[in-house]
């Protein structure tokens, strides 16, 4: 199998690890040495030409070839059977509407999250329960890591250079979670996006780090009110310029919501849309990011309200469907728990879902 990547000889494992740091092949964490043998195993599994290009990865816009993806998968510690998921995740991130170039270079702390759906969750042993955001299983950890290394090594987004994120967040180094489809009482995320439940799919979503929300022991409205109140704050981009927001609902909260009459994600989204609003008087005290070119007014005033009415309320997303809802995480004990992940605003990072194709298919 023809491989085009440059080769570097090192004496042993220690030298390999040090070389990867020296050459800036990794972002501060150690990596698995991408040996010829290990990369060949990846390429043998995927059955696609090493020089096939999935797309240019911004901001460098270097082509992500199957070979480069395989090398970065090895470095991340992926098994060969994870590679189709990494490819699909990258395809989702490279969709124009995701605007990876903006996400990789903005001063905001948005990072691409990968969400996994379908039978592959069980087949490959993803972890979707307690502490879901800290990985806890090899596929969560290494697939998220591989996509980070591709954005780093192929995309070339280096902090302080082309990556201008002022704060960043820890999710950047590994941000991959599956949905808990088993305890999801509603449609799984990929089904909402038009896929069949038995299909494997991966979604990309650009967002801040997860904000943990304690949603109480059980009442459905209390759960949603806690979420809504946590969303409607000054300082997140959604409040000021709209866009999309991810809501990760714990399985216990999901069960209580259904018990309380919220039998569809649509109902949950509509309730949050009505409740997650911020008064004009409060917005005026905030940063006011985003101004209308024609009127010089803050963009939140594009929402049809009376700007002189202090009590008028602006929703944190501009349409109910701009909430992305999934089920994951642990059951909890005295209370149910959820998380919200504010997005980057309307500029990009919207949910994009792609199918995971078997080896040899494209």
């Amino acid at each position: 199998m023809k491989q085009a990547a440059d080769r570097i000889n090192v004496t042993d494992l220690d030298a390999a690890v040090e070389l990867m740091f020296e050459k800036r092949w990794t972002d501060g964490l150690p990596a698995i040495p991408p040996t010829e043998a290990a990369v060949s195993r990846m390429l043998s599994y995927i059955k696609r030409s090493p020089d096939e290009v999935i797309g240019p990865v911004p901001p460098r816009d270097a082509p992500a070839t199957i070979e480069k993806i395989a090398i970065n998968c090895v470095m991340a510690g992926c098994k060969p059977e994870y590679m189709p998921i990494v490819i699909a995740g990258l395809e989702a991130m490279l969709a124009p509407e995701f605007n990876l170039k903006g996400i990789q270079t903005t001063t905001h702390c948005v990072a691409p999250m990968t969400i996994v759906n379908g039978p592959q969750i069980k087949d490959l042993g993803f972890h979707y329960g307690d502490a879901v955001f800290v990985a806890g299983a090899r596929p969560n950890g290494t697939i998220g890591r591989a996509l980070r290394l591709i954005r780093w090594n192929v995309g070339g987004a280096y902090p302080g250079e082309t990556d201008r994120s002022t704060m960043g967040h820890p999710g950047e180094i590994c941000y991959c979670i599956p949905e808990n489809e088993e305890e999801n009482p509603w449609e799984p995320l990929h089904v909402e996006q038009g896929f069949k439940k038995e299909q494997n799919a991966v979604s990309a979503f650009g967002c801040e780090s997860p904000h943990h929300i304690m949603t109480g022991p059980g009442d459905a409205h209390c759960i949603l009110n806690a979420l809504a109140d946590s969303m409607a704050v000054l300082g997140n981009n959604n409040t000021h310029i709209g866009g999309w927001m991810l809501v990760v609902i714990g399985p216990r909260a999901a069960a209580h919501l259904v018990k309380g009459g919220f039998t569809s994600k649509k109902q949950v989204k509509e309730y949050l849309f009505e409740k997650a609003r911020i008064p004009v008087a409060k917005l005026r005290r905030g940063p006011g990011v985003g101004r209308d070119q024609a009127t010089d007014a803050p963009t939140w005033l594009r929402w049809p309200i009376d700007p002189e009415d202090d009590d008028a309320r602006v929703p944190v997303v501009r349409r109910p469907e701009d909430f992305v809802i999934m089920v994951a995480g642990g059951w909890g004990a005295a209370a149910a728990f959820c998380a919200i992940c504010p997005g980057w605003g309307y500029m990009g990072g919207q949910l994009v879902t792609r199918p995971v194709l078997p080896p040899g298919q494209k």
Binding site: Q3, A5, D6, R7, I8, N9, V10, T11, D12, L13, A15, A16, L19, M20, K23, W25, P33, P34, T35, E36, A37, A38, V39, V57, R60, D61, A62, P63, A64, E67, K68, I71, N72, M75, P96, N99, K101, G102, T106, T107, L149, N153, V154, G155, G156, V289, G290, R291, Q293, D296, W344, G345, Y346, M347, G348
Partner: protein, 102 residues
Amino acid sequence: MSMGTTSRGMVLLDPVGRIPEEAAKKLSVRLPDLTNKKVGFIFDGHYMAEHFWPAMEEDLVKRLRLKGKVSRVKPNVGAPAPQAMVDEVAAQVDIAVTGMAA
């Protein structure tokens, strides 16, 4: 031996993406003189530069004795200009100025 080590050591494959040489060296055409040329401006629309950018446009037209200008504002501050906008401006001008301001 483990980790791909041989008696000669270990061979690693470079994970870094490279721009093909021919693409990296491609530069846009440079005009020898701007006098009486028509210029296109594509502004990202960032609010931090919404007063600066129009003033800069006017200043450049005057100072460089340009024939005229075509101004457009990107619909999305954080994304590249739509190709249709780029093509529409390119069809009308001799040179174009694009920029980010944050």
